[in-house]
Assembly symmetry: C2
Homo-oligomer: 342 residues x 2
DNA sequence: CTGAAAGCGCTAACAA
DNA sequence: TTGTTAGCGCTTTCAG
C-alpha cells in the first residue's frame, strides 16, 4: 500500500509538506490555536478534510500522557444491571470524546487483579469498576490509585479503598422488600443470596433482618439460603427449601440470576405464586412484567448509576484536584409492586 | 509524585540505568530475545518484577504500528444476544492478550459512521461489527478495510462489504419457526418485525413466507407487522392486530424486544396462550423458560458466534495474508419448543 | 552478546 | 504568526 497523501494514514508531516508549513504550525492549526492566522487554519482544515486526516491517537497519547480512554471493569455483562450501566457509561464517554475499554472478571479475583495491573502505565485515564464476588482486599486497586489513575466504584464497591462510590440504597431496599412482604401477610420469609461476601448483598440482608426484627417476625439462619455460581446447584437448594412442609410464604431473590431457579422451583413443586408463596427479586429485567404472575421487583437505577459514575470520573480526569474521596452518591432503588406479592 | 524507580511508571530507561545496561538490551531481554545472555535476562526480569515494570502500551503501539486492541461495535448492549456475544469476544481477546474497545451505535447510522472514522489511524488492529438498523450502505466500512484494518461482521452484516461474516441461518430459522406453528395447527400466522431493512430480519421473513407457501397457507401483507423503536407504538400496533375479530392464531416475534409487548397485549386482551394464539420469539433470554406459559424460542448461538468472529479476526490480524473474504460461517439457531406453542 | 542511534506521530517550549 | 527542536517510551536496524 502506497504511503502518500492520498492513501494510508495521513500524518501531520504529510499535511505540512503539502502546504509548505511546519508540523508545529499544522498541529496548532488543527487544534484551532489562537497563535495561528485564520487563513492558515483555513488552508489546514481544508486539506485535512480533503485527505481525510485522522490524528494518530497513540502518538498523541504518548506525548500528552493521556489516552482519552477509560476502562470499565465488570463481573459480567449478561445481566440487566450491567448492560444498562454500560449504556449509561458509553453515553457520557462518547459525549466527551472518550473511548471505553471493557474488561470482564467473571467474578474472579485473580482475573480482576491481572486486569488492573494493565492499567499501570497509562493505558487509561480512569477506571470504573464494580468488583468481583471474590474481591475482599482492595490492594490491587489502591496500587492503581497510587499511580494517580482515578478510580470510581459503582454498585459493587471495595470498602477498604477510599475513592468515589455510586451505589444504591441496598440496606433500604432489603428493608423495603421485606417490609412489603410482611405487609402482604408473610410470616416466614426467606432470603436467597449468592456466595461470597459482596457488601451490597450483605447490606440487603441487613435490611431484611432489620425489617424482620422491627416487625417481630422470628427468623433463623435456615431462612437464608446461600447460593453459588452453579445454576443447577442453586436450583436444587431452592427446591429443597420450598419442599419443606413449613416452607417460607415469602422469598427474596437478592440477585437477578436467582429469579429463574425460584420460578422454576415453584412451578415444579406446584406452588402458587402469590397464593402459596410471595416473591420479590432484585432485577431490572424487562420481562419481570410479563412473567405470570408478573414479578414484584427492586429495580436499581442502572443507567443512571453508570452515567453518574462516568460523569464523576471525567470530572476528576479533567480537574485533577477534584477530590473523589468525598463523593459518595447513593441513588435509591425502587420497589415495583406486581402480582407476585399480591 | 516523584518519578524514580520506586514510584510512578517505571520505564525501560529506568531499568537500564539501574542495571548499567542500554535500553536496547533491556528491551530485547524483556522479550526474551535470544541475542541476550541468560544472566542478563535474569537480572532484567528480576528488577522488572521488583519494581513492577509495565511497558507503556502507547509507546509500543506507536513504534510497532499495532495496538493489541480491537473494537467491537454494536447496536446496543441491553439485549441478550449482544451481551452473550460480548462474553465470547472478550474471552478470546483476553486469551490472546488483546484489549477490547466497545462502541454502541444505538441503531443510528450516523453514529456508526462517526465511530468507524475513529479507526482510520491505527487505533485498533481489527473490528468486529454488527451493523445498525439504519445501515444500508457499507461505504464507511469499506473505507476502513481499504486502510487495511480487518473487519468481521457478526449477526448483522452489510451485504455490500466483502469480508468475513458470522451469522445464523436466519432463513431456515424463520422457516422452522413458521413450520412449527403450522404443525401445531395454526392457520393464520403473523410475523412481527422491526423497522428497517435489516437483512437478518428479512431473511427470517423470507423463511416465514416460504414455509407458508409450501404449506399452502394463505397470507397477506396485513400479517406482517412493522414495528419501530418506540415501545409504546409497538405495543399499540400489536394490540390492534390482536384485537381484530379474526386475529392471528400464531405469531412470530422476530426480535427479542418484541416479546414483552406481545405478552402484554395478550394479557390485556385476555387471549390465552397457546389456546387462542401460539407464540414464538427470537431471543436468548433466560427468562423465556419461566414465562407462563413458557415461551417457545429460536435461540441464536450468541456466545459461540462472538467467539468465532473474534477467532477469525485474530487469525487475520496475526497472519495478514489470511483471506477474510472467503470466510462465511453460518451457525444454526435452535428451536426451543415450550408451552407457548403447545 | 551489547549498545548507539534513528524514528513511530505528535506536542510544547522556545526562538525567530 | 510561524518554525526549530526536543522529546514521550519503545523497537529495531546496524555496528561494535
Amino acid at each position: 500500500m502506497k504511503r502518500n497523501i492520498f492513501s494510508m494514514s495521513v500524518t501531520i508531516k504529510d499535511l505540512a509538506k503539502e502546504l509548505n508549513l511546519s508540523v508545529a504550525t499544522i498541529s496548532k492549526a488543527l487544534k484551532d490555536s489562537h497563535e495561528i492566522s485564520p487563513e492558515t487554519k483555513q488552508r489546514v482544515f481544508e486539506l485535512a478534510k480533503k485527505v481525510n486526516y485522522t490524528p494518530n491517537p497513540y502518538a498523541s497519547s504518548l506525548r500528552k500522557r493521556s489516552s482519552k480512554t477509560i476502562a470499565v471493569v465488570l463481573p459480567e455483562v449478561a445481566d440487566s444491571f450491567f448492560s444498562l450501566a454500560i449504556n449509561g457509561i458509553e453515553k457520557v464517554a462518547r459525549e466527551r470524546g472518550y473511548h471505553v475499554l471493557i474488561y470482564l472478571t467473571h467474578e474472579s479475583f485473580d482475573r480482576e487483579e491481572a486486569i488492573l495491573k494493565e492499567f499501570q502505565s497509562g493505558r487509561v485515564d480512569g477506571i470504573l469498576i464494580s468488583v468481583s464476588e471474590e474481591t475482599s482486599s482492595g490492594n490491587h486497586i489502591k496500587k492503581i490509585i497510587d499511580e494517580d489513575v482515578p478510580v470510581v466504584f459503582f454498585d459493587r464497591i471495595s470498602e477498604d479503598v477510599n475513592t468515589a462510590t455510586i451505589t444504591t440504597d441496598d440496606f433500604e431496599s432489603g428493608y423495603k422488600a421485606t417490609s412489603h412482604l410482611i405487609d402482604q401477610g408473610c410470616k416466614k420469609i426467606s432470603f436467597v443470596k449468592t456466595s461470597a461476601g459482596l457488601s451490597i448483598i450483605n447490606k440487603r440482608l441487613e435490611g431484611y433482618e432489620k425489617a424482620l426484627e422491627e416487625r417481630k417476625i422470628k427468623h433463623s439462619d435456615a431462612d437464608i439460603i446461600q447460593c453459588n455460581d452453579d445454576p443447577e446447584n442453586n436450583y436444587q437448594l431452592i427446591k429443597k427449601l420450598l419442599q419443606k412442609k413449613n416452607h417460607p410464604d415469602g422469598l427474596i431473590a437478592s440477585v437477578e440470576k436467582l429469579t429463574t431457579p425460584v420460578y422454576r422451583a415453584c412451578k415444579e413443586l406446584n406452588l402458587q405464586i402469590p397464593g402459596d408463596i410471595k416473591l420479590i427479586s432484585f432485577t431490572n429485567l424487562q420481562t419481570a412484567s410479563i412473567l405470570n404472575p408478573s414479578l414484584t421487583t427492586i429495580m436499581q437505577p442502572a443507567f443512571e448509576m453508570g452515567k453518574i459514575a462516568a460523569t464523576l470520573l471525567f470530572k476528576r480526569i479533567e480537574k485533577p484536584n477534584f477530590d473523589l474521596t468525598k463523593e459518595h452518591v447513593v441513588i435509591p432503588s425502587s420497589l415495583q409492586v406486581r402480582e407476585s406479592t399480591g
